[in-house]
Amino acid sequence: MTRDNSYAAVTSRKNEIMKKAIGIDYSVFESGEIGFDYERMMREAGYTLEEIQTIQSEVSVGNTPIIELKNLTALARKMAPKGKGARIFIKDEACNPSGSFKARRAANAVYHAKKNGYKGVIAATSGNYGTAVASQAAMHGLKCIVVQECYDSKMIGQPEILEKQRACEALGAEVVQLTVGPELFYTFLLLLEETGYFNASLYTPFGIAGVETLGYELAMQFREKEGKDPDVVMITNAGGGNVTGTARGLIKAGAEHVKVVGASVDLSGLHMASDHAFNRKSFTTGHTGFGLPFATWPDRADVPRNAARPLRYLDRYVLVRQGEVFYMTEALAVLEGLERGPAGNTSLTAAFSLAQEMDEDQIIVVQETEYTGAGKHPMPQLSFAKQNGIDVRFGNPTEEIPGENIILPEHPSLIKIRDYDLNKAKHSYIRNSVANNKITEISKVDVEFLVKDTKSDEQFVMNALKELGINLK
C-alpha cells in the first residue's frame, strides 16, 4: 500500500503522526474549549526537578559557572545616574557540551526517547537546539536528524545556520536542509513517519522542564556566592521556552520575587517566511519574529499543547536592536575576555541598559551565553549583511530599520531597551485563543485558564473578552 504523501494528505495526518512521535496523549489534559491543565501536564508528562538534575548530570549538562562582568558593570555606571548601575552577572551556558543552554532541553528529550525505545530523534530547528540534540543523541547512541530552514531560493545560506549544520554533522547527525517556508513542517512530518523516530520538539513538557534546572541552579548559586537572590533575571525570548523554564526553576527554588524580564531583537517589518527577507536579517533567533507570535499564540508549535508559555511568567518584555547586540558582543570580548555568540547576547544587551535603571547594590543576571565560531560571530554576520546590501554604519540605534540597515551605536550610552507593552501581548493572546478555538461565549473554567496563562486577573480577562464581544456562559 502506498501512502498519499501530498502536502494536504500529510498535513491532515498530523495528529496521528505526532501522537506516535511524542508518545503523549495531550487530550487527557484538556479542560475546556480553550484551556487545559498546564500544571498537570508538566507534572505527569514531564519529570521532577530532581529527576532532571540526575538526567542532566549523567551527561555533563548544567552546573555552568556564574561570572561577574565587572568591566561591563563599570562601563554601564559611566552612563548611569549617580548611585545607579546594578552589578551585571552572566551564566556561562556556553560551557554545556553543545555550547548553549539548549543542551538542557535536549538532554531530557533524548533521554526520554531512549527510555521509550525510540531508535532515533528528529528536531526541526535552525538553531543551537539542533547541535544540542545531535550532541545528546551521540552520547546516548541514538540516530539523529536535524531539519533546518537554511537557504533562500538562490541557495545562499545564513552563515550562522551553516555553522550549525556543520556542528550537527560533526556530532554525527544527518542534516536535511530546506529553503525558506513554513512547509518545513511537511518535510518534518514525512521524516517522522518514514523513520518512526522521536519528535524531539522544543516544546514538550520534558523539553521545557529541562530548562527549570537553569533557573533553580542560578538561585542556588547566588545564595551561595552573594547570600541573596538576584533582583532581575534577563532572558532572551524567542519561542518562550527559555523564559518559561527559567522562571519555573526560580519558583521551584522559592525565588518567585525575582523579576523575570524577556528580551528580543527587534526585527519588526521583516516577514519570517519571505524568501527575499530571509537573508536580510542578521539574527536567526532571539528576535521578535519568533518572540511575539509564540507569546501571543504558543500552540502554533509542533506539539498540540506548547509547554512554553512565556506570558505566564514575564514581568516585563524589552526590545533591543541588531546593531546594539553586535556592539555588546564586541564589548564582552574585549572588556571581559569572553568571546561568545551574538544571538545569546541579546539579553546581555538588554541587561546593560536595564542595569542603568537599577541601584548599584542590586544584581541583574544574564542567564545564558552561546558558543561562537566561523559563521556565528559578529564578523561573518556583519560582512554577510553588507554583501546583502544592508547598510552597516555607526549612528543612533533608533535609526535602525530591520532589513535595510544595522546601526552600531555611536556611543554605548545610546544602547537603550524599549518596552514592549505586555498588556498588548496579553490582549493578542486572548484574541487568538477566542479566534482559533472559534468560541462565541466562554465558560468560567476557560476564564480561569486565561487569567493564569496571561498572569493577569479576572477583570483584565473579562474586559478583553468584552471588547471581543464574548460573554460568560
Partner: protein, 101 residues
C-alpha cells in the same frame, strides 16, 4: 569533481514542492519559488553532476535526488574583515580605561 563513484560522500538536491504546490499562508515572493531540499550521504551508484542518484544518509535512509556536489565542503567562514568592530573595541576601552595609555 564532475562525477561521483559508488560510495562517494555526496550532496543531493530535491524539489519538495513546486511553486504552485506551496502552502496558502506563504508570502507572495516565496510562492514564486519551489521548496527545495538538500541532504548528504553515500552515493549508491555512480553518477554525473546534475543526474539523479540514490544515496544512503548517516541514519541509513535511502533518498533520491539530483547530484550537486561530491565531498561537499563547508563554505562559511569569518567573512570579510569588518573594521567597524575595531572602533567598538577602542571606544569601550577608551571610555573605561581612558588616560592609562
Amino acid at each position: 569533481m564532475n562525477a561521483a563513484k559508488k560510495g562517494d560522500w555526496v550532496q543531493i538536491h530535491q524539489i519538495v514542492l513546486k511553486p504552485e504546490e506551496r502552502a496558502p499562508q506563504v508570502p507572495d515572493d516565496t510562492k514564486q519559488v519551489p521548496l527545495e531540499l538538500w541532504v548528504k550521504g553515500y552515493a549508491l551508484t555512480e553518477a554525473n553532476l546534475g543526474e539523479q542518484v540514490e544515496i544512503e544518509t548517516t541514519t541509513g535512509r535511502k533518498v533520491k535526488g539530483e547530484l550537486v556536489a561530491v565531498n561537499p565542503r563547508y563554505t562559511h567562514s569569518f567573512g570579510e574583515f569588518v573594521p567597524e568592530l575595531l572602533k567598538v573595541d577602542r571606544q569601550v576601552k577608551e571610555i573605561l580605561f581612558g588616560g592609562e595609555k
